[in-house]
């Protein structure tokens, strides 16, 4: 494996020697309407760093502005959003939608080399399935270009398959996500960021088919922090290697505390109850080893 790619994968996924990572997506101001987590980005980013987060996903502009948070060997990995889309603003039903969008638009914005110059340890890009043939084909082309650029630059490429649009329904969404996961891997993804499918068995099947490290995302903010911890614990049970959660962390009442709890579950083998309690009765046999990093 290319040494740059190997070093960056290690930095992202093996900070604790267990092949796992707890990451936060904080790129919402790049694509969604302005919400408190967008307005207060710096303080939230500082809080999750204090909580021990392993990686933070940012837009290019915020990657420049918040560069100081990533310095040093204790600093988290910088993950840069290399594409852009308008999906959160589709339709006019949402009363907070300031500029409703009529069609899904998705485009490549950065090159892998530009992301490297920003100090990225990895980039993320979307692949949309279920909207229409044109969007899917454009996404495939974009992902293929990114994968090629990333391979040349030695930069891990995290792809994010999403099932969105009129061809998606309650019965096929898990199949579409599983399909998307494998398509991304076939295109050259080094890791995946993917929504939880709702149960351990179907998610375990997706992870098994993916064959690269999978980070679970949370989607819309869940009712409370315990639901977030349970989702994450189920993801780990299904053999994902960590999380890349956005609003569930950035809109949490105490993002630092939540990151610390997620870290206890990922890196120290805590159960959800133990993470909430903040301490664990020592039972070394309980410790579930992290999945060895796929290369």
């Amino acid at each position: 494996m290319d040494s740059g790619l190997s070093a960056r994968l290690e930095r992202l996924f093996n900070r604790h020697g267990d092949g796992r990572a707890v990451c936060v997506a904080a790129d919402h101001g790049y694509m969604s309407d302005v919400t408190p987590n967008v307005v207060n980005l710096r303080s939230i980013a500082e809080a999750v760093v204090r909580g021990g987060v392993d990686g933070i996903l940012l837009s290019p502009g915020q990657a420049i502005r918040l560069a100081s948070l990533f310095r040093g060997r204790d600093g988290p990995a910088l993950i840069v959003r290399a594409d852009w889309m308008n999906m959160p603003r589709l339709g006019g039903a949402n009363v907070t939608n300031a500029v409703p969008q009529r069609h899904l638009f998705h485009q490549k914005v950065l090159t892998a080399e530009q992301a490297l110059k920003l100090g990225a340890t990895a980039i993320t890009i979307y692949l949309f399935l279920g909207y229409d043939d044109r969007v899917e084909a454009a996404g495939i082309e974009s992902c293929a270009h990114f994968a090629s650029e990333c391979r040349k630059a030695g930069l891990p490429c995290i792809m994010e398959p999403l099932a969105v649009g009129g061809h998606v329904n309650g019965t096929n969404i898990v199949d579409l996500l599983t399909l998307g996961a494998r398509m991304c891997v076939e295109l050259g993804a080094n890791a995946l960021k993917i929504p939880y499918t709702g149960d351990v068995d179907s998610f375990a099947r997706l992870v098994s088919i993916a064959q690269v490290p999978v980070l679970v995302l949370g989607g819309e903010r869940l009712n409370n922090d315990r639901d977030v911890l349970e989702l994450f614990a189920e993801g780990l049970e299904a053999n994902c290697v960590g999380c890349l959660m956005g609003r569930n962390v950035t809109n949490a009442p105490d993002p630092e505390k939540l990151i610390r709890q997620l870290g206890k579950i990922a890196h120290e083998g805590y159960s959800v109850d133990e993470a909430e309690r903040g301490w664990k009765r020592e039972q070394p046999a309980d410790r579930k080893p992290g999945k060895e990093l796929e290369r």
Binding site: D33, P60, G61, I64, R65, N97, A98, V99, P100, F105
Partner: protein, 255 residues
């Protein structure tokens, strides 16, 4: 101080004085602006009173013999037909924007900064093109030491919540890497949100001459780095001499 900060200082004076920038680049789309038919002569009187003057690439080349007391020059790097109304001799059939200048061209012209419009509320492809251009210019500007000013323009028909649309545009500008953000007055609540969100200097574009005093006061109270005067300030209703006086009084009030 790096070269980007050095150039920013040319536009944005030290604390204690707020900047006033005049945008004359609308001639790219509208032709000769009222009062600016003889561009360089007309602007000569007002130039020392401004902190920044935004020009088209062609007019920037014609503004010679500047002294250190004159405003810094910024160059418009994009073109749009969205400034034209239905009564314009060549009314727009579809909203269009194109890039007309790269960052290294702007540097070679001697500009102290680049100005880009971020159009919201038009076709999805227009907004996407603005975002991509903003990111690419911001990155190129960081390499060259040339600041990028992004002007939020939520003027399209798809805008449903004007104040929130300004917030959205300001957020997009920031996340794209803008060094300065120019926002139209979005109403008091959204202005507070924008002031809290923006971690870079921002300039206010007032809604009208009549509302300017109250909107300026509110913006300066929230930490605006200065004021942005667009082409609507030019012409018979606001001759350049009077404009210069207003700029002067604004400096004094903010100082």
């Amino acid at each position: 101080m790096n070269s980007l900060d050095y150039r920013l200082k040319e536009l944005l004076p030290d604390a204690g004085r707020r900047a006033v920038l005049l945008d004359t680049s609308a001639g790219l789309s509208l032709g000769a602006l009222p009062g600016l038919e003889d561009f360089s002569t007309a602007l000569r009187r007002v130039l020392p009173r401004l902190d920044g003057l935004v020009c088209s690439p062609g007019q920037l080349r014609r503004l010679g013999n500047r002294t250190r007391a004159d405003a810094a020059l910024l160059v418009r790097v994009d073109w749009t037909n969205t400034l034209r109304g239905p009564a314009f001799p060549l009314p727009p059939e579809t909203a269009t924007r194109v890039s007309i200048l790269e960052a290294d061209d702007a540097l070679k012209l001697g500009a102290s900064g680049m100005v880009l419009s971020f159009l919201l509320g038009y076709d999805e492809a227009v907004e996407a093109a603005c975002l991509k251009a903003a990111v690419q210019l911001a990155l190129a500007g960081k390499d060259l030491g040339l600041p990028l000013l992004v002007e939020v323009c939520p003027s399209g028909p798809l805008v449903s919540l004007p104040g929130k649309a300004v917030e959205l545009g300001a957020s997009f500008a920031l996340e794209s890497g803008a060094d300065v953000v120019v926002v139209p007055h979005p109403g008091p609540d959204s202005l507070k949100t924008i002031a809290a969100m923006l971690s870079v200097p921002w300039l206010l574009k007032t809604t009208s001459a009549e509302n300017s005093a109250t909107e300026w006061e509110a913006a300066l109270g929230l930490g605006a780095a200065g004021l942005w005067l667009d082409y609507t300030w030019l012409g018979p209703a606001m001759p350049l001499a009077e404009l210069a006086d207003r700029v002067h009084s604004t400096h004094e009030r903010a100082g």
